[in-house]
């Protein structure tokens, strides 16, 4: 069931999330056509219970789909909307139409002051599922907001709403736990990094097998093989870490597993991106060549929902404040 779904999602993404579509949206174009195709495909309700007209998948089963969103560098919050819809269904709240971005917690502001935050995928989402003082809200990203991109081609944007929460008529309080939103965000980006890293490794292997210097493919040189091995190891670790983060029978992510997943994939994201560019040479950093589409995502998703040290500290605190050994913590808490 989940294999069938992820295979058909992969086929869809091959069609609709092409490098030219990604380039156009990243350059400021509308994501509406892309999103309409995703919305009508029905994948967004994959984790919503069958009783509520979803496919009823658990997070474990959804892992290949979340990874596919990364592999195809989908320029819209596909994974995040799937997870947001599952949490809203559980809360008994009808999901709004449109793409939903995730942010564990809004930065604190003075009461009544305009809200602001850096929102991953904020440029192409209509809603933000987040929390303010431990209360979750769906905040509109469409009206009365200003966006400022946080990097060239980034879909993460600094958002400034024109009002405070109390005057924001479209904002809706929803009964979802802050911990759940934060963990789901971490899991979604961990899986996306694993998917994009896999794609980047494939592109790099193709390149070093084709590119010839000193009379032979550069992949034959030991120095190149050494770098590629380091990269491949990180890709493998990312996949296992993201898979671990997604171990759950329902939609809810286990916070410490999400932490392991996001910590290890975030560190890998930077290393994989660096090595892939080192192997590609100058062509890799050109606009025209596709590698940069995926490596820029690796870097953007590393920051989204917190990079490695943020999550490592969470894990370290959890271990420090209990009694058992590090081994029993790994066996009981950081295991599937």
């Amino acid at each position: 069931m989940d294999d069938l779904l992820s295979d058909s999602l992969t086929r869809l993404l091959e069609q609709i999330s092409t490098p030219s579509v990604i380039r156009q949206i990243e350059a400021g174009g509308s994501a509406k056509d892309l999103w309409d195709s995703i919305e009508t495909s029905g994948f967004l309700d994959a984790l919503v219970p069958e009783a509520q007209d979803g496919a009823g998948l658990g997070l474990t089963e959804a892992f290949p789909m979340l990874m596919a969103a990364g592999r195809f560098a989908v320029p819209a919050p596909l994974a995040q909307t799937m997870l947001a819809r599952a949490s809203l269904a559980q809360a008994g709240v009808p999901a709004p139409a449109g793409a939903i971005a995730l942010l564990g917690q809004m930065p604190t502001t003075e009461p009544g002051a305009p809200l602001h935050a850096v929102v991953p995928f904020g440029r192409v989402a209509e809603w933000l599922l987040t929390t303010i003082d431990d209360q979750a809200y769906l905040l509109p990203l469409t009206q009365g907001t200003q966006f400022e991109s946080v990097g060239h081609g980034c879909l993460s944007v600094a958002v400034r709403w024109s009002t405070g929460l109390s005057e924001m008529t479209e904002a809706r309080a929803v009964p979802v736990a802050q911990e759940d939103i934060e963990s789901l965000a971490a899991v979604s980006y961990a899986a996306q990094i694993a998917g994009a890293a896999d794609r980047v490794l494939e592109m790099t292997l193709d390149y070093v097998n084709q590119r010839t210097q000193f009379g032979k493919p550069i992949g034959k040189f030991q120095a190149v093989q050494n770098q590629i091995s380091i990269m491949a190891e990180r890709v493998w670790v990312s996949r296992m870490a993201a898979q671990l983060a997604c171990q759950s029978e329902d939609w809810r992510a286990r916070p410490l597993l999400a932490a392991v997943g996001k910590a290890r994939t975030s560190e890998a994201a930077a290393i994989v991106a660096d090595i892939s560019h080192a192997m590609h040479g100058a062509i890799g950093i050109t606009e025209e060549y596709d590698l940069q589409i995926y490596t820029r995502k690796l870097r953007e998703w590393r920051h989204a929902a917190g990079a490695e040290t943020y999550w490592e500290s969470r894990i370290g605190e959890a271990l420090l404040w209990q009694d058992g050994t590090a081994l029993s913590f790994m066996c009981e808490t950081l295991s599937a």
């Binding site: 093989q225 490592e312 790994m330």
Partner: protein, 383 residues
Amino acid sequence: MIDTLALTHIPPAYDAFRDEVRSFLQETLKGMSPERRARSWMGFDPEFSRKLAQRGWLGLTLPTEYGGAGKGAYARFVLSEELLAAGAPVSAHWIADRQSGPLILKYGTDVQKAFYLPRISQAQAFFCIGMSEPNSGSDLASIRTRATRTDKGWILNGSKIWTTNAQHSQYMIALVRTSGEPADRYKGLSQLIVDLSLPGVTIRPINDMSGDAHFSEVFFEDVVCPPDALIGTEGDGWAQVNAELAFERSGPERLYSSVVLLETWLKYCRQRGLAGAHTTAALGKIVSWLAVLRLMSIALAGKLDRGESPAIEATIVKDIGTEIEQAIPRLIGDVLSAEPSAQTDVPLMRTLSYLEQLAPSFSLRGGTREILRGIIARGLGLR
């Protein structure tokens, strides 16, 4: 292309076994210093190995008809990780249990199996692995030690070096040339089980920089080995050695060499209430790395259990596992010395110091980093 590893669970049925191992270790290792525990699979204590044997915990995966326990790879994984994390002195039996036993089971004759396997399971036969020679390290196929077949048996001449535990073992499984010349490389190599008590065998322990002597130089001068010293097929030594490496490279000992330091430091932080940003981040980095590598190692144990030989996948786990083992003393050392007063805890500092000195060996033993990455590159289709 290399197979991706699916996340595998150790079934809950093994929880009771884990508890049993833990309470045995708590009792048996009471009062042992962290510095000694840190030696773990370099810590030699035949008495301890015999205690494990009495419980039926040696040869766990060997068939019961040969004195083993007939259990699977998961039981072995649970036992191994508990032993390593506790810093149990397992070195006496470790190599026999991990790879010589499975090798003899796979390639041995009925007579060889009936002779060696019960002895391994009873901690009466300890094994070492004779691979490196003075002029053959990473270039293993260039070895020169030669066994010549005669009507008396095999006449062995040459020498091995860096052989862990040779001075403590009854037997060596040696990779030797049985035909051709060193230039023939992989062709003409065979494996012999050498009884180290035979006349003509000289063993000289080599002191290492941390003050131990865990490895030796071994000389063979016209050693007469019986005809059935040959294990497996004459001329197939190279293939046999490579099959063995999946066992050698995939296990938790490639992740846990610094775990005693981690556990000792964790206790110390809790006792002193140290929970600063550096401490929690370093702790989280270490355990999240180990948690993921542990799952990769478990996935490999599952493959070995199904009779597969995931040699390239095991190489990946070893290369990155040893990188983390080596990073642990570095990370902990940095946090400890960010707070100079911490250096007053001498047992902790001695444990750290031991691992700092020995950590470079983690990525030498069992195949150097450079060799492993060549194997990974081959798996990725680059060679």
